[in-house]
């Protein structure tokens, strides 16, 4: 493990020209399914790996759902690639085709095969007749098989999704998202229930794809250590508020937001891993 020093501030000078996600003072109201967020400000650079960490009930999943218009803020402004997320807006709907979303329980369809699950990612590219007949063009099937190979599921194309192991199911969910040829990949606690080794395999897989396809990966975790290991930046959410945004640069953890936490608390979070 690297020795990590804590420094305050500020590569604010390193302003990226391309922000893919911007949120200004975004709040949501509480409903039965989602926790409320309060005045969230964040901006995410294109092509980076961004993590959102928090305990259950902190509102971190809600934050993810704001990024693909599954939830609408009650207050504040969100821009995804400079467009306001809105399911009824044609422009945003086209953008949704390229936002891969993996919910916490993965959302695989259990009675159909691995290949069929993955092909769903190509649905927006089908015309009406192909879609009605469930007839995917040859090049899409070829693409799906290429992705199956990349995620390490070769030979399991015809298995029903419910017959796979936890790690394999996650690979299918990732492959379905990659099939969308995404620019953004949202994943909600995709490795929380996995053992160490499998969790790292899955994280490596996503990181490889993120770099290879230059996509922006935004992942929700509750393991700070894992988040810092893979992400360029980590936002910490507590009780609906963003209390911290940090990143590792070289050997330093850099604080990008002077939050309510002291350095000691941050270091404690980093070393303290309640699950293990």
């Amino acid at each position: 493990m690297k020795q990590i020093r804590m420094t305050k501030n500020s590569s604010f000078s390193l302003i990226s020209t391309k922000k893919i996600i911007q949120m200004n003072d975004v709040s949501t109201s509480y409903d039965s399914k989602n926790f409320a967020l309060k005045e969230i400000n964040l901006s995410i650079d294109r092509g980076t790996n961004y993590s959102i960490v928090g305990q259950s009930g902190s509102g971190k999943s809600t934050l993810l759902k704001l990024m693909n218009a599954m939830m609408i803020p009650s207050d504040g402004i969100i821009k995804i690639d400079y467009i306001k997320p809105d399911m009824n807006d044609k422009k945003f709907k086209i953008m949704m085709h390229k936002i891969g979303y993996i919910p916490q329980n993965l959302g695989l369809i259990k009675n159909i095969s691995v290949l069929e699950n993955i092909l769903i990612g190509a649905l927006p590219r089908l015309n009406k007749i192909q879609s009605f007949l469930k007839k995917f063009p040859e090049h899409e099937i070829k693409e799906a098989k290429k992705i199956i190979n990349q995620v390490g599921l070769t030979g399991k194309e015809d298995r029903k999704a419910h017959m796979l192991s936890g790690g394999e199911k996650r690979r299918v969910a990732i492959a379905r998202a990659l099939m969308q040829k995404p620019t953004i990949l949202l994943a909600d606690e995709i490795v929380s229930e996995l053992d160490h080794v499998t969790a790292r395999e899955i994280m490596d897989l996503i990181t490889d794809a993120q770099k290879r396809m230059n996509l922006t990966a935004i992942m929700v975790h509750h393991d700070m250590k894992l988040a810092l290991e893979y992400a360029n930046r980590v936002a910490v959410i507590k009780e609906g508020k963003k209390i911290l945004e940090i990143g590792v640069e070289g050997d330093n953890i850099v604080d990008f937001q002077t939050g309510d936490m002291t350095n000691d608390e941050i270091m404690e979070m980093y070393s303290d891993d309640p699950k293990k």
């Binding site: 709907k93 949704m96 979303y101 959302g107 369809i109 259990k110 009675n111 469930k134």
Partner: protein, 261 residues
């Protein structure tokens, strides 16, 4: 036993006595009537084997009626169930459809059969129509309930890709609820065969038509053959559907095979 329980039991017994008096429930009549049943049984034992082919044919006709009614009923019920599911539609769509389905279900199939006998005349067609109506009411209800209980995660994951509603239905909702549908279809077919067997009582075709007529003319021996064929068929279909359910449906739901000992 608490005093409160005693009062409740007392009330139930009181109601039982009053209701029995009102509807002429009489144990004495029952005992006095037993010899009559013996006469019927004696005559029934004197079966006439030459009617067996007719009985088998009537049963085959009944199964065909049930089959047509089940298939067409399901074909009509499926789109209705999609429209009646609360997680797919607005209140303005699902509420009237649900009310319509509830109205259909209030009539038992034999009342539908009576209605269709008046409409299209007596015969098997009236029976088929009755079975269709009954199947529509029930399968649509069972299926919209199944659709409402499917996991919201696949819907969220696929819905967030920005696919159309038609795509969401055909690629997520139908596959996710398909295993329920298979077992419901089987159950409905099984149930419809029993129902079709009695629709003949009101002139809507099927094996019940023979049974009621022979009984009317006191030909219990002939009626017995037809009743025996119904009994054997229903038992056989019951057995077969349990086997099919175990072999295909449970396997598709849980990814394992059930071995029967």
């Amino acid at each position: 036993m608490t005093p409160k329980n005693n009062i409740i039991i007392g009330i139930i017994i009181g109601l039982l006595v009053i209701a029995s008096y009102n509807v002429d429930v009489s144990p004495i009549d029952f005992v006095e009537g037993l010899p009559n049943l013996m006469i019927v049984f004696e005559e029934m034992i004197a079966v006439e084997p030459k009617y067996i082919p007719t009985a088998l044919w009537a049963m085959f006709e009944t199964i065909q009626m049930a089959f047509i009614g089940t298939v067409i009923g399901i074909v009509i019920a499926l789109p209705l169930s999609l429209l009646a599911a609360r997680n797919l539609n607005s209140k303005f769509v699902y509420a009237p459809i649900r009310a319509f389905l509830a109205a259909i279900r209030t009539f038992p199939s034999i009342l539908w059969a009576l209605l269709f006998v008046i409409m299209v005349g007596s015969g098997t067609f009236a029976g088929v129509l009755a079975i269709i109506m009954y199947t529509v009411g029930f399968i649509a209800k069972l299926q919209y309930e199944a659709i409402e209980t499917i996991d919201s995660d696949p819907m969220d994951a696929v819905g967030s890709i920005g696919v159309s509603k038609v795509q969401l239905i055909s690629y997520v909702v139908i596959p996710e609820s398909a295993s329920h549908l298979l077992s419901q279809m089987l159950y409905m077919f099984d149930y419809n065969i029993r129902q079709t067997s009695i629709l003949g009582l009101v002139g809507a075709g099927g094996i019940g038509f023979y049974i009621i007529n022979y009984i009317k003319f006191f030909e219990y021996g002939k009626a017995a053959i037809f009743m025996l064929v119904v009994l054997i068929t229903v038992l056989a279909i019951d057995w077969a559907s349990v086997r099919i359910r175990d072999k295909y449906i449970i396997k598709s739901q849980h990814g394992m095979e059930i071995t029967t000992k």
